[in-house]
Symmetry: C2
Subunit: 224 residues, 2 copies
């Protein structure tokens, strides 16, 4: 399918790439072997967004909740996140990784992305949530209150740990589940959700075009 024409595109898309373990089981593999199958879809989505001129894209890597899973799965999704960031670090994007850096569960190889790093022609901002937790994110503004810097603006968005990630217009979730699962609660306040029943490793370009076509038909009110 060639790229359709869009009248109105989201400025920032959040991606919840769910279903890797279910895909592995369906295909006779061990659960943890599903994560590597999510890398190519991620690169494909990156390329589609660049082609369309989408300015910002956020991937839900793994969460602090997820790290309660068996060690072999934990290792596999940590490695998949490291691989994904490294693949994108050779392209035309700026990369930021957001998550609890202080924990041993945060992969050391990604510490250099605590601050946004720019590569190539810097065509798109990409954010990765790695060892992310919504409580960790929101709790950050305790520091701001303690330092008394909160009072100056009283703007929550500026003081959460993910403050460099902007408001999300469209969230696309693969794997059929209709929930946020802790994905950036502040940036998701007004987001439109689109659910794709297929599992993330079964990514097709058409999934993404359908989501964008649906998004075009939604009005934006921000509660007004």
């Amino acid at each position: 399918m060639t790229c359709p024409k869009f009248g109105r595109l989201p400025k920032h898309i959040g991606v919840i790439p769910d279903g890797n373990r279910r895909w592995a089981v369906n295909n006779g593999l061990a659960k943890q072997d599903g994560y590597q199958k999510g890398l190519d879809p991620g690169m494909m989505l990156y390329e589609m967004c660049v082609e369309l001129g989408i300015p910002e894209l956020t991937f839900y890597g793994f969460t602090q909740d997820n790290t309660k899973r068996p060690a072999v799965q934990k290792k596999a999704f940590q490695q998949a996140c490291v691989d994904a960031v490294k693949m994108l670090a050779n392209r035309d994007a700026s990369l930021l990784v957001v998550g609890d850096y202080s924990s041993p569960l945060f992969p050391k190889e990604l510490l250099e992305f605590k601050q946004r790093k720019t590569f190539g022609r810097d065509l798109i901002k990409i954010n990765f949530l790695v060892n992310y937790g919504w409580k960790w994110d929101l709790s950050n503004f305790i520091n701001a209150v303690e330092k008394n810097s909160f009072k100056k603006t009283r703007n929550i968005n500026e003081h959460i740990a993910s403050s460099d990630i902007s408001r999300i217009d469209l969230i696309v979730r693969w794997g059929g589940r209709r929930r946020l699962s802790g994905f950036l609660p502040v940036q998701s306040i007004y987001s439109d959700f689109y659910i794709i029943d297929d599992l993330w490793p079964d990514f097709k370009k058409n999934h993404f075009y359908e989501a964008l076509q649906w998004y075009e038909t939604q009005d934006i009110t921000l509660g007004g």
Copy 2:
């Protein structure tokens, strides 16, 4: 339709009763006349939840964002919220109203529900969000930090303004839009969403049963 049998029911349901203004326009009325048409559906839903034994139900009344709308609409939705709470105050429920009480936009008649009040046989907990704002809700924990009570537990849920409202299992939104629009971001972290395309004043019992039947098929992982 008689009530189907359910194997697994949500303990707490959030309701986003959207589409009153669109319903009014579709039916040749002024936009503000739609809100009163939302009262009967609310009572019907209350009765269905009592019949099923659902322990907690939260209605999205109006938000601080909504109060930017024309004065005539503002008056109408404020009145509809007052009427809804009064109708339920004669039944078998405990009622709590949560929102920015300090603002003149908060209806005075509802101030007595700042603390939960119990009526009749107290069969269900009902929460109403009235002049609610997600920023108002989250900002409340600044007070906790300033009073140094936060450090004792570091549990965000206990310190937000809506801390008396528990985690939501299922959110049902009428009116076709697939977004949270600022609805209780902390309690919605793991909620399943079900969207009904019909507008809220066109509420049918079947809408709700469909949502519950769908909910039964979802697994609960809480990210694990």
